[in-house]
Assembly symmetry: C2
Homo-oligomer: 198 residues x 2
Amino acid sequence: MNQSKNTKEHILDVSLKLFSEKTYYGASIRDIAKAIDKRESSIYNHFKSKEEIFEQLILKFSSRNFGPLILTDQLINIISKPEKFFILLSENLIHFWNSEEERMFIKILLAKNSNGESKKYYSIENYLNDFKALSEFIFREMISHKFIKKMDVVVLSQEFISPLFLAAIELILGLKSETIQKSLIKNHVEFFWNSVKK
Amino acid sequence: MNQSKNTKEHILDVSLKLFSEKTYYGASIRDIAKAIDKRESSIYNHFKSKEEIFEQLILKFSSRNFGPLILTDQLINIISKPEKFFILLSENLIHFWNSEEERMFIKILLAKNSNGESKKYYSIENYLNDFKALSEFIFREMISHKFIKKMDVVVLSQEFISPLFLAAIELILGLKSETIQKSLIKNHVEFFWNSVKK
DNA sequence: GTCTATAGAGAGATAGAC
DNA sequence: GTCTATCTCTCTATAGAC
Protein backbone atom coordinates (compact mmCIF):
# COMPACT_ATOMS: atom_id res chain seq x y z
CA MET A 1 0.00 0.00 0.00
CA ASN A 2 3.09 2.22 0.18
CA GLN A 3 3.30 4.44 -2.89
CA SER A 4 7.08 4.70 -2.67
CA LYS A 5 7.51 0.95 -3.03
CA ASN A 6 8.53 -0.39 -6.39
CA THR A 7 5.77 -1.55 -8.69
CA LYS A 8 6.37 -5.26 -8.17
CA GLU A 9 5.98 -4.96 -4.39
CA HIS A 10 2.97 -2.75 -4.91
CA ILE A 11 1.33 -5.36 -7.12
CA LEU A 12 1.89 -8.04 -4.50
CA ASP A 13 0.41 -5.79 -1.80
CA VAL A 14 -2.82 -5.05 -3.62
CA SER A 15 -3.10 -8.63 -4.85
CA LEU A 16 -3.01 -9.88 -1.28
CA LYS A 17 -5.95 -7.64 -0.49
CA LEU A 18 -7.95 -8.41 -3.65
CA PHE A 19 -7.34 -12.19 -3.65
CA SER A 20 -8.36 -12.32 0.01
CA GLU A 21 -11.56 -10.38 -0.64
CA LYS A 22 -12.75 -12.04 -3.85
CA THR A 23 -10.62 -15.19 -4.18
CA TYR A 24 -8.13 -15.87 -6.96
CA TYR A 25 -10.84 -16.18 -9.61
CA GLY A 26 -12.86 -13.18 -8.47
CA ALA A 27 -9.98 -10.70 -8.45
CA SER A 28 -8.97 -9.74 -11.98
CA ILE A 29 -5.79 -8.31 -13.46
CA ARG A 30 -7.98 -5.31 -14.23
CA ASP A 31 -8.82 -4.89 -10.54
CA ILE A 32 -5.15 -5.13 -9.64
CA ALA A 33 -4.15 -2.59 -12.30
CA LYS A 34 -6.84 -0.19 -11.10
CA ALA A 35 -5.65 -0.56 -7.51
CA ILE A 36 -2.08 0.40 -8.39
CA ASP A 37 -3.31 3.08 -10.82
CA LYS A 38 -1.56 1.59 -13.87
CA ARG A 39 -2.73 -0.22 -17.03
CA GLU A 40 -3.21 -3.99 -17.22
CA SER A 41 -0.35 -4.38 -19.63
CA SER A 42 2.09 -2.92 -17.11
CA ILE A 43 1.43 -5.82 -14.79
CA TYR A 44 2.95 -8.16 -17.37
CA ASN A 45 6.21 -6.30 -17.13
CA HIS A 46 6.63 -7.71 -13.62
CA PHE A 47 4.79 -11.02 -13.74
CA LYS A 48 4.25 -13.31 -16.69
CA SER A 49 0.71 -14.21 -15.62
CA LYS A 50 -1.93 -13.83 -12.91
CA GLU A 51 -0.97 -17.30 -11.70
CA GLU A 52 2.59 -16.12 -11.14
CA ILE A 53 1.43 -13.22 -8.97
CA PHE A 54 -0.42 -15.71 -6.81
CA GLU A 55 2.54 -18.07 -6.61
CA GLN A 56 4.96 -15.34 -5.59
CA LEU A 57 2.50 -14.06 -3.01
CA ILE A 58 2.28 -17.47 -1.38
CA LEU A 59 6.05 -17.85 -1.60
CA LYS A 60 6.67 -14.48 0.01
CA PHE A 61 4.49 -15.30 3.01
CA SER A 62 5.47 -18.93 3.39
CA SER A 63 9.16 -18.12 3.57
CA ARG A 64 8.92 -15.62 6.41
CA ASN A 65 10.34 -16.29 9.84
CA PHE A 66 7.64 -15.22 12.28
CA GLY A 67 9.24 -17.01 15.23
CA PRO A 68 10.65 -13.87 16.91
CA LEU A 69 7.26 -12.15 16.63
CA ILE A 70 5.64 -14.89 18.73
CA LEU A 71 8.56 -15.88 20.95
CA THR A 72 9.20 -12.37 22.27
CA ASP A 73 11.84 -11.60 24.91
CA GLN A 74 9.07 -10.69 27.30
CA LEU A 75 7.61 -14.17 26.80
CA ILE A 76 10.88 -16.03 27.24
CA ASN A 77 11.48 -14.21 30.50
CA ILE A 78 8.46 -15.84 32.13
CA ILE A 79 8.93 -19.42 30.93
CA SER A 80 9.34 -20.55 34.55
CA LYS A 81 5.77 -19.35 35.25
CA PRO A 82 3.89 -21.58 32.81
CA GLU A 83 0.37 -20.30 33.41
CA LYS A 84 1.36 -16.68 32.83
CA PHE A 85 3.50 -17.88 29.94
CA PHE A 86 0.56 -19.61 28.24
CA ILE A 87 -1.61 -16.52 28.57
CA LEU A 88 1.00 -14.29 26.96
CA LEU A 89 1.82 -16.87 24.29
CA SER A 90 -1.87 -17.10 23.39
CA GLU A 91 -2.12 -13.33 23.23
CA ASN A 92 0.93 -13.13 20.97
CA LEU A 93 -0.52 -15.75 18.63
CA ILE A 94 -3.97 -14.17 18.45
CA HIS A 95 -2.43 -10.76 17.98
CA PHE A 96 -0.33 -12.09 15.11
CA TRP A 97 -3.23 -13.88 13.41
CA ASN A 98 -5.48 -10.85 13.80
CA SER A 99 -3.13 -8.42 12.10
CA GLU A 100 -4.51 -7.00 8.88
CA GLU A 101 -1.90 -8.67 6.67
CA GLU A 102 -2.11 -12.06 8.35
CA ARG A 103 -5.90 -12.15 8.17
CA MET A 104 -5.66 -11.60 4.41
CA PHE A 105 -3.07 -14.34 3.98
CA ILE A 106 -5.08 -16.83 6.05
CA LYS A 107 -8.20 -16.03 3.99
CA ILE A 108 -6.28 -16.84 0.84
CA LEU A 109 -5.06 -20.15 2.27
CA LEU A 110 -8.58 -21.08 3.36
CA ALA A 111 -10.05 -20.35 -0.06
CA LYS A 112 -7.38 -22.37 -1.83
CA ASN A 113 -7.54 -26.11 -2.49
CA SER A 114 -4.39 -28.14 -2.52
CA ASN A 115 -6.34 -30.48 -4.75
CA GLY A 116 -5.11 -31.58 -8.12
CA GLU A 117 -1.79 -30.55 -9.62
CA SER A 118 0.57 -32.08 -7.05
CA LYS A 119 1.76 -30.48 -3.84
CA LYS A 120 3.43 -27.48 -5.45
CA TYR A 121 1.50 -25.11 -3.20
CA TYR A 122 1.79 -24.19 0.44
CA SER A 123 -1.46 -25.05 2.23
CA ILE A 124 -3.15 -24.19 5.52
CA GLU A 125 -1.73 -27.48 6.79
CA ASN A 126 1.84 -26.32 6.14
CA TYR A 127 1.01 -22.99 7.75
CA LEU A 128 -0.31 -24.66 10.89
CA ASN A 129 2.66 -26.98 11.02
CA ASP A 130 4.98 -23.98 11.26
CA PHE A 131 3.17 -22.87 14.41
CA LYS A 132 3.00 -26.38 15.79
CA ALA A 133 6.77 -26.76 15.33
CA LEU A 134 7.30 -23.56 17.30
CA SER A 135 5.06 -24.73 20.10
CA GLU A 136 6.59 -28.21 20.17
CA PHE A 137 9.95 -26.56 20.75
CA ILE A 138 8.47 -24.61 23.65
CA PHE A 139 6.91 -27.67 25.26
CA ARG A 140 10.12 -29.66 24.92
CA GLU A 141 11.93 -26.92 26.82
CA MET A 142 9.26 -26.78 29.51
CA ILE A 143 9.34 -30.53 30.03
CA SER A 144 13.12 -30.67 30.23
CA HIS A 145 13.02 -27.94 32.88
CA LYS A 146 10.21 -29.80 34.65
CA PHE A 147 7.82 -26.85 34.47
CA ILE A 148 5.07 -29.10 33.17
CA LYS A 149 4.25 -32.82 33.13
CA LYS A 150 6.14 -35.11 30.79
CA MET A 151 3.80 -35.61 27.83
CA ASP A 152 3.90 -36.03 24.05
CA VAL A 153 4.81 -32.59 22.65
CA VAL A 154 2.88 -33.26 19.44
CA VAL A 155 -0.29 -33.83 21.40
CA LEU A 156 0.38 -30.82 23.62
CA SER A 157 0.88 -28.58 20.60
CA GLN A 158 -2.28 -29.75 18.93
CA GLU A 159 -4.35 -29.30 22.08
CA PHE A 160 -2.86 -25.90 22.79
CA ILE A 161 -3.01 -24.42 19.30
CA SER A 162 -6.27 -25.80 17.88
CA PRO A 163 -8.83 -23.84 19.93
CA LEU A 164 -6.84 -20.65 19.43
CA PHE A 165 -6.41 -21.01 15.69
CA LEU A 166 -9.99 -22.09 15.13
CA ALA A 167 -11.15 -19.00 17.01
CA ALA A 168 -8.90 -16.92 14.76
CA ILE A 169 -10.52 -18.49 11.69
CA GLU A 170 -13.97 -17.71 13.03
CA LEU A 171 -12.90 -14.13 13.64
CA ILE A 172 -11.41 -13.83 10.16
CA LEU A 173 -14.29 -15.37 8.21
CA GLY A 174 -17.18 -14.41 10.45
CA LEU A 175 -18.61 -11.63 12.45
CA LYS A 176 -17.32 -12.64 15.86
CA SER A 177 -16.16 -9.67 17.86
CA GLU A 178 -12.56 -9.38 18.96
CA THR A 179 -13.47 -8.92 22.62
CA ILE A 180 -14.67 -12.52 22.80
CA GLN A 181 -11.04 -13.57 22.36
CA LYS A 182 -9.97 -12.36 25.80
CA SER A 183 -12.29 -14.69 27.69
CA LEU A 184 -11.61 -17.49 25.21
CA ILE A 185 -7.90 -17.27 25.96
CA LYS A 186 -8.52 -17.21 29.69
CA ASN A 187 -10.80 -20.26 29.58
CA HIS A 188 -8.60 -22.19 27.23
CA VAL A 189 -5.39 -21.62 29.18
CA GLU A 190 -7.14 -22.52 32.42
CA PHE A 191 -8.38 -25.80 30.92
CA PHE A 192 -5.02 -26.57 29.36
CA TRP A 193 -2.98 -25.67 32.41
CA ASN A 194 -5.06 -27.98 34.58
CA SER A 195 -4.07 -30.84 32.31
CA VAL A 196 -0.36 -30.18 32.09
CA LYS A 197 0.65 -28.88 35.52
CA LYS A 198 2.75 -31.20 37.61
CA MET B 1 -25.53 -36.40 -9.29
CA ASN B 2 -28.61 -38.58 -9.71
CA GLN B 3 -29.93 -38.28 -13.27
CA SER B 4 -33.49 -39.07 -12.18
CA LYS B 5 -33.64 -36.02 -9.93
CA ASN B 6 -35.44 -32.99 -11.19
CA THR B 7 -33.36 -30.33 -12.89
CA LYS B 8 -33.40 -27.91 -9.98
CA GLU B 9 -31.96 -30.49 -7.59
CA HIS B 10 -29.48 -31.52 -10.24
CA ILE B 11 -28.27 -27.93 -10.63
CA LEU B 12 -27.78 -27.62 -6.87
CA ASP B 13 -25.85 -30.90 -6.83
CA VAL B 14 -23.35 -29.94 -9.52
CA SER B 15 -23.07 -26.39 -8.19
CA LEU B 16 -22.00 -27.74 -4.81
CA LYS B 17 -19.21 -29.60 -6.54
CA LEU B 18 -18.14 -26.78 -8.85
CA PHE B 19 -18.32 -23.99 -6.26
CA SER B 20 -16.27 -26.11 -3.86
CA GLU B 21 -13.63 -26.81 -6.49
CA LYS B 22 -13.26 -23.35 -8.04
CA THR B 23 -15.06 -21.00 -5.64
CA TYR B 24 -18.16 -18.99 -6.48
CA TYR B 25 -16.29 -16.75 -8.91
CA GLY B 26 -14.37 -19.51 -10.64
CA ALA B 27 -17.34 -21.74 -11.39
CA SER B 28 -19.44 -20.34 -14.23
CA ILE B 29 -23.05 -20.82 -15.30
CA ARG B 30 -21.52 -22.36 -18.40
CA ASP B 31 -19.68 -24.95 -16.29
CA ILE B 32 -22.87 -25.76 -14.42
CA ALA B 33 -24.87 -26.10 -17.65
CA LYS B 34 -22.21 -28.39 -19.11
CA ALA B 35 -22.26 -30.54 -15.98
CA ILE B 36 -26.02 -31.13 -16.19
CA ASP B 37 -25.84 -31.48 -19.97
CA LYS B 38 -28.23 -28.62 -20.69
CA ARG B 39 -27.89 -25.07 -22.13
CA GLU B 40 -27.10 -22.05 -19.98
CA SER B 41 -30.48 -20.52 -20.66
CA SER B 42 -32.21 -23.51 -19.08
CA ILE B 43 -30.58 -22.70 -15.76
CA TYR B 44 -32.52 -19.44 -15.66
CA ASN B 45 -35.76 -21.35 -15.73
CA HIS B 46 -34.99 -22.57 -12.24
CA PHE B 47 -32.92 -19.78 -10.72
CA LYS B 48 -33.01 -16.10 -11.51
CA SER B 49 -29.24 -15.70 -11.18
CA LYS B 50 -25.99 -17.41 -10.26
CA GLU B 51 -26.18 -15.65 -6.91
CA GLU B 52 -29.53 -17.30 -6.23
CA ILE B 53 -28.11 -20.77 -6.88
CA PHE B 54 -25.45 -20.06 -4.28
CA GLU B 55 -27.95 -18.72 -1.76
CA GLN B 56 -30.25 -21.70 -2.10
CA LEU B 57 -27.31 -24.06 -1.78
CA ILE B 58 -26.29 -22.48 1.51
CA LEU B 59 -29.89 -22.46 2.67
CA LYS B 60 -30.36 -26.13 1.83
CA PHE B 61 -27.35 -27.18 3.88
CA SER B 62 -27.79 -24.77 6.75
CA SER B 63 -31.34 -25.89 7.42
CA ARG B 64 -30.56 -29.59 7.76
CA ASN B 65 -30.87 -31.41 11.04
CA PHE B 66 -27.72 -33.49 11.33
CA GLY B 67 -28.19 -34.20 15.03
CA PRO B 68 -29.39 -37.79 14.61
CA LEU B 69 -26.43 -38.57 12.34
CA ILE B 70 -24.00 -37.65 15.14
CA LEU B 71 -26.04 -38.64 18.18
CA THR B 72 -26.67 -42.22 17.07
CA ASP B 73 -28.50 -44.76 19.20
CA GLN B 74 -25.28 -46.69 19.52
CA LEU B 75 -23.65 -43.59 20.99
CA ILE B 76 -26.45 -42.77 23.44
CA ASN B 77 -26.29 -46.33 24.77
CA ILE B 78 -22.78 -45.79 26.11
CA ILE B 79 -23.19 -42.36 27.68
CA SER B 80 -22.43 -43.85 31.10
CA LYS B 81 -18.97 -44.84 29.83
CA PRO B 82 -17.62 -41.39 28.98
CA GLU B 83 -14.24 -42.37 27.60
CA LYS B 84 -15.72 -44.84 25.13
CA PHE B 85 -18.45 -42.33 24.45
CA PHE B 86 -15.95 -39.62 23.51
CA ILE B 87 -14.13 -41.94 21.15
CA LEU B 88 -17.30 -42.89 19.30
CA LEU B 89 -18.58 -39.31 19.30
CA SER B 90 -15.28 -38.16 17.74
CA GLU B 91 -15.49 -40.89 15.14
CA ASN B 92 -19.06 -39.92 14.27
CA LEU B 93 -18.07 -36.28 13.87
CA ILE B 94 -15.00 -37.00 11.75
CA HIS B 95 -16.97 -39.46 9.66
CA PHE B 96 -19.64 -36.84 9.05
CA TRP B 97 -17.16 -34.08 8.17
CA ASN B 98 -15.23 -36.39 5.88
CA SER B 99 -18.21 -37.40 3.78
CA GLU B 100 -17.96 -36.26 0.16
CA GLU B 101 -20.90 -33.88 0.40
CA GLU B 102 -19.87 -32.35 3.70
CA ARG B 103 -16.30 -31.75 2.55
CA MET B 104 -17.65 -29.79 -0.40
CA PHE B 105 -19.96 -27.72 1.77
CA ILE B 106 -17.20 -26.92 4.27
CA LYS B 107 -14.90 -25.87 1.43
CA ILE B 108 -17.55 -23.44 0.23
CA LEU B 109 -17.95 -21.98 3.71
CA LEU B 110 -14.19 -21.59 4.08
CA ALA B 111 -13.85 -19.78 0.76
CA LYS B 112 -16.68 -17.39 1.57
CA ASN B 113 -16.31 -14.13 3.47
CA SER B 114 -19.11 -12.90 5.65
CA ASN B 115 -17.66 -9.47 5.00
CA GLY B 116 -19.68 -6.60 3.69
CA GLU B 117 -23.39 -6.77 2.89
CA SER B 118 -24.79 -7.54 6.37
CA LYS B 119 -25.11 -10.96 7.94
CA LYS B 120 -27.46 -12.40 5.34
CA TYR B 121 -25.24 -15.42 4.86
CA TYR B 122 -24.57 -18.47 6.96
CA SER B 123 -20.87 -18.62 7.86
CA ILE B 124 -18.42 -21.19 9.17
CA GLU B 125 -19.05 -19.65 12.58
CA ASN B 126 -22.75 -20.50 12.40
CA TYR B 127 -21.86 -23.98 11.19
CA LEU B 128 -19.54 -24.58 14.12
CA ASN B 129 -22.09 -23.21 16.55
CA ASP B 130 -24.54 -25.90 15.44
CA PHE B 131 -22.03 -28.56 16.47
CA LYS B 132 -21.12 -26.76 19.66
CA ALA B 133 -24.79 -26.57 20.63
CA LEU B 134 -25.08 -30.32 20.14
CA SER B 135 -22.03 -30.99 22.25
CA GLU B 136 -23.10 -28.55 24.98
CA PHE B 137 -26.30 -30.53 25.27
CA ILE B 138 -24.28 -33.71 25.68
CA PHE B 139 -22.00 -32.25 28.35
CA ARG B 140 -24.95 -30.87 30.28
CA GLU B 141 -26.42 -34.35 30.41
CA MET B 142 -23.13 -35.90 31.48
CA ILE B 143 -22.67 -33.38 34.25
CA SER B 144 -26.19 -33.79 35.57
CA HIS B 145 -25.65 -37.56 35.69
CA LYS B 146 -22.27 -36.98 37.37
CA PHE B 147 -20.36 -38.86 34.65
CA ILE B 148 -17.86 -36.01 34.39
CA LYS B 149 -16.70 -33.07 36.51
CA LYS B 150 -18.92 -30.03 36.82
CA MET B 151 -17.46 -27.52 34.37
CA ASP B 152 -18.60 -24.79 31.97
CA VAL B 153 -20.22 -26.61 29.03
CA VAL B 154 -19.23 -23.85 26.62
CA VAL B 155 -15.58 -24.34 27.49
CA LEU B 156 -15.92 -28.12 27.33
CA SER B 157 -17.48 -27.94 23.87
CA GLN B 158 -14.82 -25.65 22.56
CA GLU B 159 -12.01 -27.79 23.91
CA PHE B 160 -13.58 -30.98 22.67
CA ILE B 161 -14.60 -29.86 19.18
CA SER B 162 -11.74 -27.56 18.14
CA PRO B 163 -8.92 -30.09 17.62
CA LEU B 164 -11.31 -32.41 15.76
CA PHE B 165 -12.74 -29.79 13.46
CA LEU B 166 -9.38 -28.22 12.74
CA ALA B 167 -8.06 -31.66 11.76
CA ALA B 168 -11.07 -32.03 9.47
CA ILE B 169 -10.24 -28.69 7.82
CA GLU B 170 -6.64 -29.79 7.30
CA LEU B 171 -7.87 -33.00 5.74
CA ILE B 172 -10.32 -31.15 3.48
CA LEU B 173 -7.97 -28.43 2.27
CA GLY B 174 -4.69 -30.28 2.43
CA LEU B 175 -3.04 -33.53 1.70
CA LYS B 176 -3.20 -35.07 5.16
CA SER B 177 -4.05 -38.75 4.98
CA GLU B 178 -7.19 -40.06 6.59
CA THR B 179 -5.34 -42.65 8.65
CA ILE B 180 -3.77 -39.92 10.75
CA GLN B 181 -7.21 -39.21 12.13
CA LYS B 182 -7.38 -42.43 14.13
CA SER B 183 -4.39 -41.63 16.30
CA LEU B 184 -5.44 -38.00 16.52
CA ILE B 185 -8.79 -39.04 17.96
CA LYS B 186 -7.14 -41.41 20.42
CA ASN B 187 -4.68 -38.77 21.64
CA HIS B 188 -7.25 -36.03 21.82
CA VAL B 189 -9.80 -38.06 23.77
CA GLU B 190 -7.13 -39.25 26.17
CA PHE B 191 -6.02 -35.67 26.83
CA PHE B 192 -9.58 -34.46 27.16
CA TRP B 193 -10.77 -37.30 29.35
CA ASN B 194 -7.93 -36.71 31.80
CA SER B 195 -9.20 -33.18 32.29
CA VAL B 196 -12.86 -33.95 32.76
CA LYS B 197 -12.98 -37.22 34.67
CA LYS B 198 -14.13 -37.01 38.26
C1' DG C 1 8.63 0.57 -17.62
C1' DT C 2 4.36 2.40 -19.05
C1' DC C 3 1.26 3.44 -22.49
C1' DT C 4 -2.71 2.62 -26.42
C1' DA C 5 -4.91 -0.64 -28.95
C1' DT C 6 -6.62 -4.92 -29.74
C1' DA C 7 -7.10 -9.88 -30.03
C1' DG C 8 -9.78 -13.77 -28.71
C1' DA C 9 -12.07 -16.21 -25.36
C1' DG C 10 -15.47 -16.50 -21.69
C1' DA C 11 -18.63 -14.31 -18.55
C1' DG C 12 -23.96 -13.50 -16.95
C1' DA C 13 -28.18 -12.92 -18.74
C1' DT C 14 -32.35 -12.33 -22.07
C1' DA C 15 -35.67 -12.91 -26.30
C1' DG C 16 -38.35 -15.71 -28.63
C1' DA C 17 -39.28 -20.29 -31.16
C1' DC C 18 -40.78 -24.91 -30.16
C1' DG D 1 -38.89 -26.57 -19.72
C1' DT D 2 -35.44 -26.55 -23.18
C1' DC D 3 -33.62 -24.85 -27.17
C1' DT D 4 -30.89 -21.38 -30.58
C1' DA D 5 -29.22 -17.05 -31.05
C1' DT D 6 -27.49 -13.05 -29.39
C1' DC D 7 -26.31 -8.92 -26.41
C1' DT D 8 -23.07 -6.69 -23.68
C1' DC D 9 -19.54 -6.80 -20.80
C1' DT D 10 -15.28 -8.58 -18.73
C1' DC D 11 -11.48 -11.57 -18.81
C1' DT D 12 -6.19 -12.68 -19.65
C1' DA D 13 -2.74 -11.64 -22.51
C1' DT D 14 0.12 -9.59 -26.42
C1' DA D 15 2.08 -6.16 -30.02
C1' DG D 16 4.26 -2.22 -30.69
C1' DA D 17 4.88 3.02 -29.89
C1' DC D 18 7.12 6.18 -26.65
